[in-house]
């Protein structure tokens, strides 16, 4: 019996995944938010819009999984928003309305994303530049290049690509399946691969990891590459719901700071070494539920920002408190 398949290990894995108290906690909060918001919505005669909520989570959720990797490693990626834009525009241009172009365009864009991620990683590890500054720099570079070349919708997305955005499989939208697949893959990588173990180590203490033979540079480059690939997938998802890509889709969605917010909301420590994608998933869902609730209850969207700010701070404060109590 393989190492994964045995039932005992399934239980152990489940307990490991949810037993980390902070992850369990945030799921508790998720349930609470769900109950409260849905009750309020139903009480005021609105629609729960579960599917809608999930679909809204997809774009942020996919890139937040990637951001989780980067933050776990003790790094940060502020350039994801513009990476999403770059993907959207380039893919749209490459596809150029022709369904025959879809597959190789997707591959090309993923390769481009991976390259950008690798470059981010290299700048940070080889030149020893702080991740904040390095990714701020690349986001500016991408922004400039993008806006200098395109100032409007560009390219054309063939209709055949739209199922990703709109169709369902057994009642579940493809996009949601994609998100779930990415979350599952991310979880699996972190828990079961050496890369995942090393990523946690590098985030907790790069020095210790390196002295133990971990190639911290490679690990971080890998994390940034994964993050960029998820940004790419988000870009692809976005254009599957549009007829063409545009340079503003990334910054409009605020994916940089929002993905970081979702990650820390989910219990991953900003300093690295602690947390995981399951928590991030819960964080994304909470934000999406709040979004939906505010819309349905017709509360001013600006107030939503205030509430989000409060929630993020409160969540991280609670995590910090637990951490102080647990580890001496």
């Amino acid at each position: 019996m393989s190492a994964i398949a045995s039932p005992r290990n399934a239980v152990v894995a489940a307990r490991a995944a949810f037993g980390t108290s902070s992850t369990g906690q945030i799921y508790g909060v998720l349930v609470l938010v769900l109950v409260v918001t849905w009750s309020l919505i139903l009480a005021t005669g609105g629609n729960i819009n579960l599917t809608n909520t999930l679909v809204r989570s997809v774009a942020l959720g996919i890139v937040a999984v990637g951001q989780t990797f980067v933050i776990l490693g003790g790094s940060l990626d502020l350039s994801v928003a513009y990476q999403v834009s770059v993907t959207a525009v380039v893919a749209s241009v490459l596809m150029d309305g022709d369904p025959g172009n879809i597959w190789w365009s997707v591959l090309a864009v993923i390769a481009l994303g991976a390259a950008i991620g690798a470059i981010n990683g290299i700048i940070i590890t080889a030149i020893h530049i702080n991740a904040f500054i390095a990714t701020l720099g690349t986001s500016l570079i991408l922004r400039g290049a993008l806006n200098a070349t395109f100032d409007n919708y560009a390219g054309e997305v063939p209709d055949e690509f739209q199922p990703l955005g709109y169709s369902r499989f057994l009642g579940i939208p493809y996009s949601v399946l994609l998100l779930l697949a990415i979350v599952a893959t991310g979880w699996w990588i972190l828990r079961y691969t050496r890369f995942g173990h090393h990523l946690y180590a590098v985030g907790a203490s790069e020095e210790t990891a390196r002295l133990s033979g971990v190639r911290s540079g490679r690990v971080l480059i890998g994390a940034h590459t994964i993050c960029s690939i998820t940004a790419t997938l988000t870009g692809l998802f976005i254009i599957s719901r549009l007829s063409a890509g545009a340079p503003w889709v990334g910054p409009d969605g605020n994916y940089d700071l929002e993905s970081i917010a979702a990650v820390v909301l989910g219990g991953t420590a900003l300093s690295g070494g602690r947390g995981g994608v399951l928590g991030t998933f819960a964080g994304v869902l909470i934000l999406a539920l709040l979004d939906n609730a505010f819309n349905q209850l017709q509360i001013n969207t600006f107030l939503k920002d205030v509430v989000r700010g409060v929630i993020i701070i409160a969540a991280v404060a609670i995590y910090a408190l637990r951490q102080r109590r647990d580890v001496r």
Partner: protein, 524 residues
């Protein structure tokens, strides 16, 4: 002046050095004419070193002598500027510690390299997690970890799944040792491994080392503890100022010979004289019935001119006592009086204003701001405590005079303290407290990680501070230091005071109190 007593050899070891079976003098590792320099300092000059199969080879020398640098070269952390390293007869070059590890050379650093948020098993197998296909085999990892922990005798107290951050310091040390042992290493470098171990744990470590020696594993043992080195090693190499001044056979040498090799002169004694009765004045610190979460029933008095030594095993509560006095983890019961005034500190600032100085165990982490200059570190406390009350008449610190007083060696007052040696760093910390006009000094392991020459200097300083009218509380795990320095010895155990002993008590008497009668296997 009193002499070094030979009775300081570890009495728990009846084995004489050299009795371990070695059937060959075959060298396994040879370093030849190693040179290493850093900007501003030449760390190693033409150092030769030879390590034989299955020997425990001790490395001694002052801080700054180059021991740490040399060992980092052996372990692949640094690369030499010139010279050769030969392993099993063939030249090797380690560009990275991993290469050294793969060739069988492991190093256990003085500061642990553990990840608090990962489990014991994950820490031990970091970087070499066992795999089945693409997947990390956690079960196998934990099984192998259990094996090693059992072999070390700690399977009951440490589980492979335990989070390292929740283990005690001594347990973390054990995990570090387990990690090195898990590498099937042929040479294990240990840098001050027993700094935080109890005598029982030291025994276990020594037995383990001897057992591994019989399998042909060699140890390079860096330590300042002469008694341990004499008990454990077969040969000793002494470094001084970056050079190898000699390798001796342990059985053929004495403690004082070693010391003179390290500092280059015959030192007939280590310790300054005790305080005479006239020199001891009124109480400066009085604690009655003090207690908090970790301490209870603390009754303690320290007088002007007196050095009170605090002895005890790891975990007995000595540092906790210091922190309670200083306001870090304050007392919740009882009373504390400072020169007659009842005080209760909840913040170090208050304690500092009242005239207490605390030299912590780990000066680099808690005592100094490493990127800042000597001057800024010196003035750090003085700048933070304001000018009101008692401090109104405090004269501004004179760095030059203080530096002379403590015999500080540095290139300039604007030099960043991270470039100083351990002993000089400790002196800067002391200068910081001198600047605040402290009248009660708490020293926590004042000479840990400091070479013999500088140690004596610190001891002199402590005694001189007392003579100038300060009250001194000195926590130390080095029994010779406790015995040599203390006018009175207070022994702690389990968070309370187990007893008080007069000066010049024996190690046996102190250990009996510290460990509780039942645990002592000491031959008296």
């Amino acid at each position: 002046m009193r002499g070094v007593r030979d009775g300081m050899t570890d009495p728990t070891t009846s084995q004489t050095a050299g009795a371990v079976g070695l059937d060959s003098d075959r060298p396994i590792l040879r370093l030849s004419r190693i040179n290493k320099g850093f900007p501003g300092v030449k760390a190693l000059t033409d150092v030769d070193l030879e390590i034989r199969v299955g020997e425990v080879h001790a490395l001694m020398g002052e801080n700054g002598a180059g021991k740490s640098t040399l060992m980092k070269i052996v372990a692949g952390v640094y690369q030499p500027d010139s010279g050769t390293i030969t392993l099993d007869g063939e030249p090797v070059h380690f560009a990275h510690p991993r290469e050294a590890q793969e060739r069988g050379i492991s190093i256990i650093h003085q500061e642990f390299n553990l990840l608090p948020e990962r489990t014991v098993a994950q820490n031990i197998f970091l970087g070499r997690e066992p795999k089945r296909g693409w997947i990390v085999d956690s079960r196998e990892m934990e099984r192998r970890t259990s094996e090693i922990l059992t072999a070390l005798g700690v399977e009951r107290s440490i589980s492979p799944r335990a989070m390292v951050g929740r283990l005690s310091v001594a347990q973390q040390q054990t995990v570090e040792i387990a990690k090195a042992l898990s590498f099937d290493a042929r040479i294990v470098v240990m840098d001050e491994p027993t700094a935080s171990l109890s005598p029982a744990e030291v025994d276990a470590l020594f037995s383990r080392i001897r057992a591994l020696q019989e399998r042909g594993i060699a140890f390079i043992y860096i330590s300042h503890r002469i008694d341990e080195v004499m008990a454990l090693s077969q040969r000793i190499t002494v470094l001084k100022d970056g050079r190898n001044v000699g390798t001796v056979t342990t059985a053929d040498t004495t403690a004082s010979q070693l010391v003179s090799m390290m500092v280059g002169r015959e030192l007939s004694s280590y310790y300054p004289p005790y305080a005479s009765p006239e020199e001891i004045g009124e109480p400066v610190l009085e604690i009655v019935d003090g207690g908090n979460e970790r301490l209870r029933d603390i009754d303690l008095t320290v007088r002007r001119g007196e050095v009170v030594g605090i002895a005890g095993l790891e975990g007995a509560g000595r540092t906790e006592l210091a922190r309670a006095i200083f306001g870090v983890d304050p007392f919740t019961t009882g009373t504390m009086r400072l020169e007659g005034d009842t005080v209760h500190f909840t913040h170090p600032r208050q304690a500092i204003r009242a005239g207490i100085g605390f030299l912590t165990e780990d000066r680099k982490v808690e005592g100094l701001v490493l990127p800042q200059s000597i001057r800024d570190n010196n003035l750090l406390a003085w700048r933070s405590i304001g000018r009101s009350g008692r401090l109104r008449n405090l004269p501004p610190p004179d760095p030059a005079d203080q530096a002379r007083r403590v015999d500080l060696r540095a290139a300039g007052f604007d030099q960043e303290v991270r470039f100083l040696s351990g002993g000089n760093q400790q002196k800067v910390v002391l200068m910081k407290w001198l600047s605040t006009g402290a009248r009660l000094f708490i020293f926590d392991e004042p000479t840990r990680g400091i070479d013999v020459g500088a140690k004596a200097g610190i001891h002199e300083l402590i005694r001189e501070l007392a003579r100038a009218g300060a009250a001194i509380l000195m926590i130390s795990s080095e029994l010779p230091e406790v015995i040599g320095m203390s006018d009175r010895i207070v022994v702690m155990r389990n968070g309370t005071i187990a007893g008080e002993l007069p000066r010049e008590s024996t190690e046996t008497e102190i250990m009996a109190l510290a460990a509780g009668e039942a645990d002592v296997k000491v031959a008296s």
